[in-house]
Amino acid sequence: MHALWRLAAVAVAAVCGIVSAAGIEDGEKRSGFDFMAPATQALQADDMSNPGMLWVLQGEQLWQQAQGRADVACSGCHNDARQTMRGVAARYPAFDAATGRPIDLAGRINSCRAERQQAEPLAPESDALLALTAYVTHQSRGMPITPATDARLARFRDNGRRLFQSRIGQLDLSCASCHDDNWGKRLGGSVIPQAHPTGYPLYRLEWQTVGSLQRRLRNCMIGVRAEPFAFGAAELVDLELHLMDRARGLLIETPAVRP
């Protein structure tokens, strides 16, 4: 009896495996916004009460500040971000020829800082880096995610998909176990969203501050009792690539608010 039951479980697991490989149907794709309580949605919707706007505003000021040995501001080369940065975040991560790897938006901003401004790179999750990233991404708010088509990215995106589907941690769960197979269900008081990267950097009520997509991914890894990848790790950028691909067509919301 027991053995039979176990056999059935294995069969179900095999079927589940096929289902989860298919992921979320296009028509069913929904931003994390849709899973939030009305009060949290209202917080995001009003720029005058959305705390994430404080970082966007700081980013706007930093954009104009001369920095580093080159003593030049972002605006010195890129002029008005409202024009030159429009749509950029919607296609990141992009291929970085210098390293032969994908680079995410925060990485690109830091590389401009190091190489063009000749200034110290900004620390991961520092207010300044979050502010600049939020400001640049905000220029794409309302635009659909359109992942870069560069063929050199394919191999890294595939690795991201593989990571998304691999079981990790003491709980032996993959990202897909929750976000492909169980989205919409409740888990310890919160709804499992589909894990779309539409709002980052975003203001998370739990953090009481703005954080990056990498911080969010590390949170989920810690949640299943796995050792999280370090900030800036290649694996996190590969995961970001896969998440953007999965979210193709959804609109950028930055700065979003999440519980």
Binding site: M48, S49, P51, M53, L54, Q58, Q61, Q208, T209
Partner: protein
Amino acid sequence: MARTLVNVPKVAKQGEVVEIKAMIAHPMETGYRIGPNGSNIARDIIRRFTCTYNGEEVFSADLFPAVSANPFIAFTLVATTSGTIDFTWTDDAGKTQTASATITVN
């Protein structure tokens, strides 16, 4: 770099009641959290918020640790004359941050 966001209507009619919103980036550290080293993280909060209209105090608030990080306050004022509306936030250490906006009343 002060990080504040204030919203005051640019134009209002004489006698109109207008809504004012004010927000500031601040951790509002409660003093009750315990840091990684096992000891309490020192309290650091905005204690007082004031709003003046052409120099006269028209609204203020005393804040306690139960006010959320990055405090947000919305209130109303009667638009009387054109001029400046100033905002001041004072923290535990007595340090102040300010913001201001102008309003045209006709």
